[in-house]
Symmetry: C2
Subunit: 197 residues, 2 copies
């Protein structure tokens, strides 16, 4: 089926998305072809636009469409509160809960001896710079309750101890749980019951 080459190429690309295997990629592409005016063309345009404009915030690592993201640039947000998360999906989960009015720092992962991920591979040096340079009074560690997440939390506490108040999300985060799976209420409860480390 020579004339399916463009369609096959699209299926192969779609199958590279997390959560989509070859079968669901085929289903998705057939759905897109059926709705090529209503969905496929708008999606192509939207992807091209995001590919052109998306960038990581130079300050916190959030994604947005400018060098400094809207949260960092928003002077209504508390400058003294800094919430440290592993990745942008966790930042989005915190934002959906709507309870946190400070700013963020996205590490971009966790320390991992197994995967040879050290502090320099994450935004940990930048975090230490921010705590030294900005008027931060409290660092809230909102890392996943996984072994690597907690190892990373301990490393950050070691680095920052005595320089700033450090708290962490507590009540409501299940052992082994990941922030991005939690409902907004659980995140709210965990933030309100944060404990000093």
């Amino acid at each position: 089926m020579a004339d399916r080459s463009e369609i096959d190429a699209l299926i192969d690309l779609m199958a590279k998305l997390p959560g989509l295997g070859p079968r669901s990629a085929r289903r998705a592409v057939l759905h897109l072809i059926r709705k090529r005016g209503l969905l496929l063309q708008p999606l192509a345009d939207s992807m091209a636009e995001v590919a052109r404009t998306a960038r990581e915030c130079l300050n916190c690592g959030n994604v947005g469409t400018s060098d400094i993201c809207a949260i960092c640039a928003d002077d209504r947000r508390a400058t003294g509160l800094l919430c440290v998360v592993e990745d942008v999906a966790d930042l989005w989960a915190m934002e959906r809960s709507g309870v946190f009015k400070g700013r963020y720092h996205v590490l971009g992962g966790t320390l991992s001896a197994l995967d040879a991920v050290g502090p320099e591979d994450l935004r940990i040096p930048k975090l230490l710079d921010r705590v030294a340079g900005e008027e931060i009074t409290e660092v809230i560690l909102a890392l996943n309750a996984t072994i690597d997440g907690q190892t990373t939390a301990h490393y950050i506490v070691d680095q920052l101890e005595g320089r700033v108040e450090i708290t962490s999300l507590a009540q409501g985060v299940p052992i082994g749980g990941e922030l991005d799976y939690l409902d907004d209420g659980t995140i709210t409860a965990a933030l309100n019951a944060r404990k000093r480390m």
Copy 2:
């Protein structure tokens, strides 16, 4: 987060894909932003290309990039054998098994009293035309083993009885099963053991 509007728009569009909810759409978009050079831009280009070129075959209903699809246009394929499937995903599943060397007719669904889908809503009139006009010796019904699939099969048998040999996939298709979920070997076995109706 005003500067996330383009990203939010992309998430909303991605969440319209079958099998992707809001959460997996967010994950997929973050993945795409991380790989914006390697994956997001190629995907945007591929989607635009498919949106521009994809069309349904005027003869059989398969999708391709020309008015008559590559299978219908391939004169090495047996003209006497016509395999009737519900949708293009089923045609693709048959093709992956590699065992069928005839041509196809894609109904575009099944008859359904509940959803008020009648013969005219499917490519059934076109099927009757093809049997009357092409040199077809055998119609192989490869419909799903669901109630609607079998209702549709019986309707087609009623229409074509006495005009052409009609067979259906038999051994190997589980009750309630859908073709697109079956492995290639099962499809091959079912085709080889097809029975006269």
